[in-house]
Each structure stands twice: as structure tokens, then as C-alpha cells.
């Protein structure tokens, strides 16, 4: 049977050589590009990321600088420049494009600094939750003995009322961590840890399901038959194959982490008042939103657009990584 097949493959060879070899990730990228929403989402997310991290290098104002003396009166409560369009007498100036807050700090600089914190929290919490979720999912899927206890643990975590517990936990551990890592560092560690250990469950379930199916496949059997230890089977053969569901839950994890951090900051259980994050900026401006609606609008828009972009990326990734949809 193989004899006639061999020459035909050789005759095909020149034809094949004209097409460059394609890797799996190239196919994924091609499919991802077809999802217009995901592409736009990716562009927006990258631009927000760049604006927030690179922007402060070029922007002259410092987010925490409070003017004193006559400058304080001159610079406080400035409106964004676009207000001049319908109200020529408004207190606005191009040196502060988004205006200043009630003690004269530049709003755009604070938005960028807040974005740095929000995005860093989102990425770090996502990484932690992925690590936990993948670890528990692989253990539960691969080792039959651990499956029962670990999945019961996952169910228990799913049954916990998370937002109330998060609020309580923030209150409990804020002081000790403040002492250990400093004011901002302590809250950062706290929020990242809390969001991470309360959002790994979905990842664990998905990974476990995939591992259960994968470990019955022939290549795992082959690996085991030549005496590969479990650790290496998991790392070399199983983990690369569950990468796609992990990547999808990674994008969704960023979205949940950003929203949870903002919600905590909004309820007053997050970062300290002087320290800007998008949720904190929103919360601080709610009291005076009738006079200065822009102070509520911009942080809120920033959170919403970031999360929307991330959700669209997740949607596109899910389609791109699914081989049944890819290539259609």
C-alpha cells in the first residue's frame, strides 16, 4: 500500500515547495484576522496599553503634583478643552487637555497612572488565576486519585459568595500587608492575590475536561510506554495541547480582574484615596458629577472600552483556536 504512495508524494513535492510551510500559529493568526471585532479589539487594547505606559514619558505633568499658592487657585477645577466648544467662558486650557481635579492635579496624567495600576492588576491577577487554574485542572485531570477531592474543592469555591468575601478579606488583611509591603504595594499584593484565588475555577474545570480526554490518546500512551515520567508527560505532551482553552480564559480573566479591582476601588475597599486607579478615580468623582461629568466619564469609559476590547479578543481567539471553525 505504501509503495505507490511514495512516488506520488515525490511528484507532488515541487508543487508543495512553492507554498511556504505553515505553522499552527500562522493559521490561528489568519483566522484571528478574519474576526473584525477581535482585530479592532486587539488594536484598541494595544493602543490603550501603549498610551498608559508610554504616554507619561512624553506628557509634561506629574499625576501626583499638587500646585500650591496662587497656582492652586489658578489650576484647580479646570474643565477639559472640548468644553470650550459650547461654553467659550469655561476655565480650560490646552496645557491640561482633560482638565484638573479639585486640588489641581492633571486629569490626563492621573488617568494614565490609574491605567497603569488597573492594567497591571488585571494582568497579574490573570496570571495568578491561570497558574492556579491550570495547575489544579491538570492535577485533577491527570491523576485520578486527586480528581474527586480537587473537583469538590472547585465546587466549594464556586459556591462561595465572592464579592462579600472579597470585601471582608480586603478589610482583614489590609493592615498586615500594608506593614509588610508599604501602602500601595500591600494593597496591590492583596488585590492581585484575592482576585487570583477567587477566579481560577472556570479555568480549572475546562483544563481538567481537556486533560481527561487527552490522556487517553495514543501519543500519551506512547510516551508512557517508553518510560517518560508523569511530570514530563504533563509538561511536554499535555500542557501544549491545552494551551488554547487556557489562552481564551486568560483574556476573559483580564476582563474580570480589571472589573473586580475597579468594583473594589469603587466601593472604597481598594487602593487608598490619593492613589489613582480607574475605579478609584470614578468613585472620587461621583460626588461632584453634576458639575464635572467628565471626571466620571473618562475613567468609566476607559474601564468599559478596555474590557470590551479584551472580551472581543477573547471571542476572536476562541474562534481562531478552534480547528473546527478555522479554515472555513
Amino acid at each position: 500500500m505504501t509503495e505507490p504512495a511514495a512516488p506520488s508524494a515525490e511528484t507532488l513535492a515541487p508543487e508543495l515547495a512553492t507554498r511556504p510551510p505553515r505553522s499552527q500559529w500562522r493559521d490561528v493568526w489568519d483566522q484571528f484576522k478574519k474576526h473584525r471585532g477581535a482585530l479592532v479589539g486587539a488594536v484598541i487594547f494595544v493602543s490603550i496599553f501603549a498610551a498608559v505606559f508610554v504616554g507619561p514619558l512624553f506628557y509634561p505633568h506629574d499625576a501626583q503634583y499638587v500646585p500650591t499658592g496662587r497656582d492652586f487657585i489658578r489650576l484647580r477645577d479646570m474643565r477639559p478643552v472640548y468644553v470650550l466648544l459650547w461654553d467659550p467662558g469655561a476655565k480650560a486650557d490646552w496645557s491640561h487637555p482633560l482638565g484638573t481635579d479639585n486640588i489641581g492635579r492633571d486629569a490626563l496624567a492621573r488617568m494614565m497612572m490609574g491605567g497603569q495600576v488597573s492594567l497591571t492588576v488585571g494582568l497579574a491577577a490573570m496570571a495568578l488565576s491561570l497558574l492556579l487554574g491550570t495547575f489544579i485542572g491538570v492535577l485533577a485531570g491527570y491523576f485520578r486519585r486527586l480528581d474527586g477531592p480537587l473537583m469538590r474543592l472547585t465546587d466549594l469555591f464556586l459556591a462561595l459568595p465572592l464579592l462579600p468575601l472579597l470585601l471582608v478579606a480586603v478589610l482583614l488583611f489590609r493592615e498586615p500587608l500594608k506593614a509588610a509591603f508599604g501602602v500601595e504595594g500591600g494593597i496591590f499584593v492583596l488585590i492581585v492575590t484575592l482576585v487570583g484565588i477567587t477566579s481560577w475555577m472556570q479555568t480549572a474545570r475546562i483544563v481538567r475536561g481537556d486533560v481527561l480526554a487527552l490522556k487517553e490518546r495514543e501519543f500519551v500512551l506512547a510516551a508512557r510506554s517508553i518510560g517518560t515520567p508523569s511530570r514530563r508527560i504533563v509538561l511536554r505532551h499535555i500542557l501544549p495541547n491545552v494551551l488554547s482553552p487556557i489562552m481564551v480564559s486568560a483574556t476573559l480573566g483580564i476582563a474580570t480582574a480589571i472589573i473586580t479591582e475597579s468594583a473594589l476601588s469603587f466601593l472604597g475597599f481598594g487602593f487608598p484615596p490619593d492613589f489613582p486607579t480607574w475605579g478609584r478615580l470614578l468613585n472620587d468623582s461621583v460626588d461632584r458629577m453634576t458639575l464635572y461629568p467628565e471626571r466620571v466619564l473618562w475613567p468609566g469609559l476607559a474601564i468599559s472600552i478596555t474590557v470590551l476590547a479584551v472580551n472581543y479578543i477573547g471571542d476572536g481567539l476562541r474562534d481562531a483556536l478552534d480547528p473546527r471553525i478555522r479554515g472555513r
Binding site: L156, L158, L165, L267, S304
Partner: protein, 354 residues
């Protein structure tokens, strides 16, 4: 099925006990001392008596057991008494007197109910006072969301990739992504500050007596309900659409069409009924998370409900209230998980729990 139900109910007991223990131990670590803010002139032995009166000063396991007894034995008794004597629903039943607060002595020291530290009154009484507000707002939002989401999901799936479907997908994505603390503030700025259509604060003392007060009640409910409903609608309509899409390509649909049934019958009777099975369970699973999500919405619109009560209790370091409320949320989650699983078994005859 009955076997499965019983097994699940028995399994729910250790789950709830574990959650209760987690919550209890977490709060055990709380740094605040409830008598710390009292005047320094109080002598230490009196202070110790005060801590005892608050139920502190005993070993952890005894206090945990006491709290469990209070929650599962004392409070249900009080609740049954309340139902039979005061409430309108079961008021016709003969009055019961299961709970006797004290065998003599003054009420403050030997009342066995869970007492709130900030109000000095039973936590459950306050919960019952707050519950109607939460249920009105959240319940209405949930109903509105279901009524909107199901037709939207059905039509989106039926006309997949039409402009309606694309617009629907975008709106549900926005609904997922815009957090309630922003959408709430945004609708307040637009509809309350700029247009002045609706009041921005939910007046919980408002009583509906005539038509005008009813209209006022509707107007103040519009904004919180809108904000909550946007979120819930996006989730449910996504599920509805996915589930309809799964079913629309099935063989039985082609059979129904081949038999010459009209398109509305095929879609609304055959496909819809089958697609509703996972959606119903999603709706059941969402109910407890709505109580959690309502914490933020209640905070934005100043609704005097359970979520607001929890935030205030956390801020005031009122541990019995926080414990009880969190545990009530946990019970809701476990119960509705069970209901969702059972519903799935009842609605879908292909699923057998044996």
C-alpha cells in the same frame, strides 16, 4: 431522580458546613475589637463582661457551634412564629410559640438570637426589613431581562449574521463589559441630572397608596432596573442564541419542516422548547449571583437593601451581621445550583441521574 435529589441534599450539608466554617474562621481573624472604641475609663473587668455579653471570650469551636445553632435552630423557630402570627401568607394557620426568648431574666443577656453589634437587634429582623427593597428592584430587573433576552436570542439565532444579530452581539458585549458602577452613574448623569426624568436616589420609605404614588414608584425603579437588566439580558440572550443555533441544524427540525409545518410552529414550538432547557438552568443559576451583583447597584442608587446592609456592616465591623449575610448568600448559591441541576433532569428526558 428521587435518589439523586436525596443524595445531593445530603451532599449539600458538608458543603454548607465547610462554607460556614470558612466564613467564620475568616472573620475570626478580624483585627477589630468591638469594645475598643468604648471610653478608656471603663475598668478592665467591666470591659471583659461587655465582651462576654457580645458573645466573645469563649473558645472558637464553642462560638462556631453556638452560631450554627442560632442559624439553623433558633432563627427558623422565630421565622415560623413570625409566619404564623404576623405575616399575611400563613397568617390563617394557628399561632405558634416555638421560640421563647428567655427562661426568666432580662432579655438583653439571654436572648439566643443572632444579634447585630451595631443595631443591638436581631440580624434576621433587619434582613426581613431590607429584603423587600432588594427583591423589588432585583426581581423586577430579572423579569425584565428574561422578557427581553429570550425573543432577542431567538431572533438573533434565526437570522444569524443579519444586522439584527450583529447589533445584538455588540450590545450584549457592551452589556458584559460596562460595569454597573459606570452604567449606573452614566444613566444618573443623563436621565437624572441632564434630563431630569427620574429621581437619582431610590426612596425606600415611599409607600404606594394611589395612582400617583404608583407612578412615582415606577419612575424611581426605572434606572436601577435598567442597569441590572442590561447585564442580565446580555448573559441570557447569549445563551439563548447559542442554544437556538445548536438546535436549528438538528434533524428533527428538518423533519418538522418536511412535514409541512409553518415556520412559526417549527421555530417557536419545536426549536424553542428544546433550546429553553439549558437557558432555564442558566436563569436558575443566575439568581443568587444577582444578589451579589446588586451590592454595587444598590450602592449607586442608594437602595436600602441587603447589599447596602452588608457594606455598612463590613464598614462598622459588625461581625454577626456580616457572617449571617454572607452565609445567606452561600445558601442561596448552593440551593439554586441544586435547583438548576434538578430542573435539567426534569426538563431533558435524555439526562438520567442514576
Amino acid at each position: 431522580m428521587l435518589n439523586y435529589t436525596i443524595r445531593r441534599l445530603i451532599l449539600a450539608v458538608p458543603t454548607l458546613l465547610f462554607i460556614a466554617l470558612t466564613i467564620f474562621l475568616l472573620l475570626e481573624l478580624a483585627p477589630g475589637d468591638p469594645v475598643a472604641h468604648m471610653p478608656l475609663t471603663i475598668p478592665p473587668e467591666v470591659r471583659e463582661l461587655m465582651r462576654k455579653a457580645l458573645g466573645l471570650g469563649e473558645p472558637v469551636h464553642i462560638r462556631f457551634w453556638k452560631w450554627l445553632v442560632q442559624f439553623f435552630w433558633v432563627e427558623p423557630q422565630v421565622f415560623i412564629d413570625w409566619l404564623t402570627t404576623k405575616s399575611a401568607i400563613a397568617g390563617i394557620l394557628p399561632d405558634t410559640q416555638f421560640y421563647v426568648s428567655c427562661a426568666g431574666g432580662d432579655l438583653a443577656t439571654c436572648d439566643a438570637r443572632i444579634l447585630s453589634w451595631q443595631f443591638r437587634s436581631p440580624v434576621m429582623d433587619i434582613v426581613l426589613q431590607r429584603l423587600p427593597q432588594t427583591l423589588w428592584v432585583v426581581g423586577t430587573a430579572y423579569l425584565v431581562a428574561i422578557v427581553i433576552a429570550i425573543p432577542v436570542g431567538v431572533y438573533s439565532a434565526y437570522r444569524q449574521y443579519s444586522w439584527f444579530d450583529n447589533a445584538g452581539t455588540f450590545i450584549t458585549m457592551v452589556g458584559f463589559s460596562v460595569p454597573p458602577f459606570f452604567s449606573g452613574v452614566l444613566v444618573i448623569v443623563i436621565f437624572s441630572v441632564q434630563l431630569g426624568w427620574f429621581p437619582s436616589i431610590y426612596d425606600t420609605t415611599h409607600r404606594v397608596t394611589d395612582w400617583d404614588s404608583f407612578v412615582f414608584q415606577l419612575r424611581q425603579m426605572v434606572m436601577p432596573v435598567m442597569v441590572l437588566a442590561l447585564q442580565i439580558t446580555s448573559q441570557i440572550s447569549r445563551f439563548m442564541r447559542a442554544s437556538m443555533l445548536d438546535n436549528l441544524n438538528q434533524d428533527y427540525v428538518r423533519t418538522a419542516r418536511a412535514k409541512g409545518m409553518t415556520e412559526p410552529t417549527v421555530v417557536l414550538v419545536h426549536v424553542l422548547r428544546n433550546s429553553m432547557i439549558p437557558v432555564v438552568t442558566v436563569i436558575a443559576l443566575g439568581i443568587p449571583s444577582i444578589f451579589g451583583g446588586a451590592i454595587i447597584t444598590e450602592q449607586v442608587f442608594k437602595v436600602n437593601g441587603i447589599g447596602e446592609m452588608l457594606i455598612k456592616a463590613i464598614e462598622a465591623n459588625d461581625i454577626p451581621t456580616v457572617q449571617t449575610l454572607t452565609f445567606i448568600f452561600a445558601v442561596l448559591i448552593v440551593v439554586f445550583n441544586l435547583i438548576a441541576d434538578l430542573l435539567y433532569g426534569i426538563l431533558d428526558p435524555r439526562i438520567r441521574y442514576d
